[in-house]
Amino acid sequence: MKILRIALILVLAALGKPAVSATPVEIAVIVHASNPNTTMTADDIRSHFMKQKSAWPNGEKIRPVESEMDDGARTVFITKVLKTNATDLERHWLEIKYRSAESPPKRMTDDEGVIKYIGAFKGAIGFVAASSLEKASDKPIKVVFRIKG
């Protein structure tokens, strides 16, 4: 299973790498391995990531995280999952900060950082390019959603 997954990632990475700029990027929404959800819908993800809810059903605080790298994954995530655009999202975070003192998602330097973060916090949720998952097979994370941009 594990080998299969890694192989899949490798395949995907091999297939996708040259297509970063030209071919659609697949992104994966990941959560901490202990998260009770196995799959999530785009709406679920949006309500959790955008802190329209403050905690997971198990009471764990929702901790969204994203990468500082502005590659195609973010755009896909914003448009396809969050179904908004970057400007509106920015406005959303400002609004939420002033209304309920909730901070915007934690920003890590790259997908590796995102994966590290999600592995460290039980309530974390974030997205990475599906290709980044190849090196993270040992991390306590799980993919709950995939989409191609």
């Binding site: 605080k61 901790r63 209304r99 309920s100 003192a101 909730e102 901070s103 934690k106 590290k116 973060y117 592995g119 460290a120 916090f121």
Partner: protein, 703 residues
């Protein structure tokens, strides 16, 4: 008066109402503002917490940035300590805020924040002095971020609370202000209504009273209609009473003014008429016009009066002298034609401030004449007395005066002055006061003019002297011929004659006795006066022998004879009309006789009147004294007590007492009394008195 309807109670009630209103507004305001104050307290403590939290947040934010440095390899202990201190500080604030027990959401946020801070503190303390790997550092940072996040949430929560509190305060403030204005407006309206009611109840009767007072001042009577039961109602009723009394009093005063025999003229200090005059004023002087000084009107016909009055009045009005002194200088007489008016003055107003003068004028013409006559009579009698005492002095004075009067007419000023002065002195000494006064006036005139008087000026003096002399001498004329004899001389004469000529001696002795004729004349004069009073024409005839006697001898008889004489005039003599009807002379006659015969004095009183109705008298006496009276003689009947045929008692007689008294007096002297009467022709009383023991004398011719 009901206490509840009194003005005092109404005013007190109104004031009480206003006070209660003010008090309730104050109490409501105090309660409301106390709640506001509590809210403000809470807000202020929350605000304080807010400020502290903001500071902590700011500190925490800046520290978070240095987090990776503090726990790097090697770790920065100073930063770690500061971190921990910031967290501890924040936790302390939170604990303090929790202790103050803010309510609701804030409390929930506080507890959550405190929990996350405990977590952060725990984690920080656990990692103290260590260098952390990436994941550990991330976890520590996240714990601190969480803590700061709850703090930020708390801040928002408190901010919302403060906002809500402030909104509440605004509401709390608005409510009492609104209530205050509402209560004040309603209260003011009610108070104004009550005030207006009370004031109307006060002012309406006051206005009515004012109108009444004005009407009263104008001399009219206007009753104040009011049914008020308060003080003003009482006042109005008292006023009505007073107005009625004043009107009555004014009417009575008017009656007095119309009835008084004097002229009463009230004068104000400006000399103008100041009120109503008596009716007599208008009768005597005509209506006094207003606006001109009263004296000008009064003195129009009396030269010099107005001027004298005006000057003296000015002095009186200036009040320099006491009123009595000033009034003394005012004119006392006002002569208009032959009438002399006497003036007197009464102060009007208080002693301190003269408000006017009441001039009382009476017609004193008759009085002055009587006074003049009395003065003249006194003067004459006094001079007559002198004539009797010292006829020579009087004669000398007359001769000297006549001579001087003659000389004065011809003489110059020196002569006139000297003679007038001497004449004045002599006249005064003799008792011719008026003549002395006249001389004095002429003297004054000479002194004033410095010239001799015209001879004609002495004519009045001469006339006056002649008149006085005439009157004196008419009375004292006989005295000129009288011989004055001293008692010792008289006694010498009597003694001398006694031995030589006893009859002459007896006659001389009798000069000391009273003539009976004189006594009867006196009684006759009395009868005449009674006749005059009774409006009867009575002629009294005295027919008496030349008898002299000691008057005291029969004093009782003489005194009681008055009764018989009264009876004769009063009951005997008829009225002139009645006499005329009976064919008698209108003039009745009463004859008083006196005779001395055979040692008996016989007196009789006879009238030609209607006589005594004997039967009627007997009937009357029988009624009083019983059946025995039926056989009484006429004299007994006449003298019986209560006997009188007169149908009414007059001021002179009629009581049936007098004649009885006369008979008693006669009987005491051992005499007798008889009566004869002829109906329609007259009555005659005869009295006999024995002279045996009496001192008396009768001229030989009469005997």
């Amino acid at each position: 008066m009901n206490w509840l309807s009194s003005i005092r109670f109404r005013l007190m009630a109104t004031t009480g109402l206003l006070a209660a209103l003010l008090l309730s507004v104050t109490i409501l305001g105090t309660v409301q503002f106390a709640s506001i104050a509590r809210t403000v307290d809470r807000v202020s403590s929350e605000s304080e917490l807010l400020i502290r939290l903001t500071n902590t947040l700011d500190n925490g934010d800046s520290l978070t940035k240095t987090l990776s440095r503090g726990w790097a390899d090697p770790p920065d202990d100073g930063l770690q300590v500061r971190f921990l201190a910031t967290l501890t500080d924040a936790q302390q604030h939170l604990q303090r805020a929790i202790a103050r027990s803010p309510q609701g959401d804030v409390m929930k946020s506080l507890l959550e924040a405190s929990k996350t801070f405990s977590d952060a503190q725990e984690k920080t303390t656990a990692s103290r002095g260590k260098a952390l790997d990436e994941i550990e550092a991330l976890q520590l940072e996240e714990a601190i971020t969480d803590a700061l996040g709850t703090l930020a949430k708390l801040k928002i929560s408190i901010g919302k609370g403060v906002d809500a509190s402030l909104v509440g305060v605004r509401k709390d403030v608005r409510a009492p202000v609104k209530m205050f204005w509402t209560v004040a407006a309603v209260g003011l309206f009610v108070a104004l209504l009550v005030m207006a009611f009370v004031l109307t109840r006060i002012t309406t009767p006051i206005n009515k009273l004012l109108a009444g007072v004005r009407a009263l001042a104008q001399g009219e009577r206007l009753l104040v209609n009011t049914d008020a039961k308060d003080e003003l109602g009482e006042l109005a009723r008292s006023f009505n009473n007073m107005a009625e009394q004043i009107t009555d009093r004014t009417a009575r005063l008017r009656l007095v003014l119309d009835s008084t025999g004097d002229a009463l003229i009230p004068i104000g200090m400006d000399g103008r008429l100041a009120g109503a005059c008596s009716k007599r004023t208008n009768d005597w002087f005509g209506e006094i016009p207003e606006g001109v000084p009263v004296w000008e009107h009064l003195g129009a016909q009396c030269p010099g009066f107005a001027e004298k009055f005006s000057v003296a009045f000015d002095q009186m009005a200036s009040e320099i002298f006491p009123f009595e002194c000033a009034a003394d200088l005012m004119p006392k007489d006002l002569k208009i034609g032959k009438t002399i008016y006497g003036l007197s003055y009464r102060a009007v107003g208080s002693v301190e401030k003269l408000a006017g003068v009441l001039v009382v004028i009476s017609d004193v013409t008759a009085q002055r004449e009587a006074e003049a006559q009395e003065a003249e009579s006194k003067e004459v009698f006094s001079v007559v007395g002198l004539c009797f005492r010292d006829p020579e002095l009087y004669t000398g004075f007359v001769e000297d005066s006549l001579r001087r009067l003659d000389l004065m007419k011809q003489g110059g000023i020196i002569r006139q002055q000297a003679d007038l002065h001497t004449l004045k002195g002599n006249a005064g000494m003799i008792g011719f006061g008026r003549m002395a006064e006249a001389c004095h006036k002429l003297e004054d005139e000479i002194a004033e003019t410095g010239k001799a008087l015209d001879p004609s000026r002495f004519e009045q003096l001469e006339e006056m002297f002649a008149e006085s002399r005439k009157r004196v001498e008419a009375l004292a004329g006989q005295s000129q011929d009288m011989v004055q004899v001293q008692p010792d001389e008289f006694e010498w004469l009597r003694q001398t004659l006694l031995h030589r000529d006893p009859a002459t001696a007896a006659r001389v002795s009798s000069w000391r006795l009273t003539r009976a004729e004189r006594i009867l004349e006196q009684l006759g004069g009395h009868a005449k006066r009674i006749g005059e009073r009774m409006a009867k024409d009575v002629d009294v005839v005295v027919d008496c022998h030349d008898i002299r006697m000691d008057r005291k001898q029969f004093d009782g008889v003489w005194a009681s004879m008055v009764h018989a004489i009264r009876n004769a005039v009063d009951h005997g003599i008829e009225s002139p009309e009645e006499r005329a009807d009976r064919g008698k002379d209108r003039t009745g006659t009463v004859v008083l006789r006196g005779r001395a015969e055979n040692g008996i004095l016989r007196l009789s009183i006879e009238d030609d009147g209607r006589g005594i109705d004997v039967e009627r008298l007997r009937e009357k006496v029988t009624q009083i004294h019983g059946a025995a009276a039926a056989s009484w003689s006429l004299i007994d009947l006449v003298c019986a007590r209560g006997a009188s045929t007169a149908s009414e008692v007059t001021e002179n007689s009629g009581r049936g007492v007098g004649v009885g008294a006369l008979r008693d007096a006669v009987l005491v002297q051992g005499g007798a009394m008889r009566v004869e009467t002829k109906p329609g022709s007259g009555t005659r009383f005869d009295i006999e008195l024995p002279l045996a023991n009496a001192t008396w004398w009768q001229s030989a011719s009469a005997a």
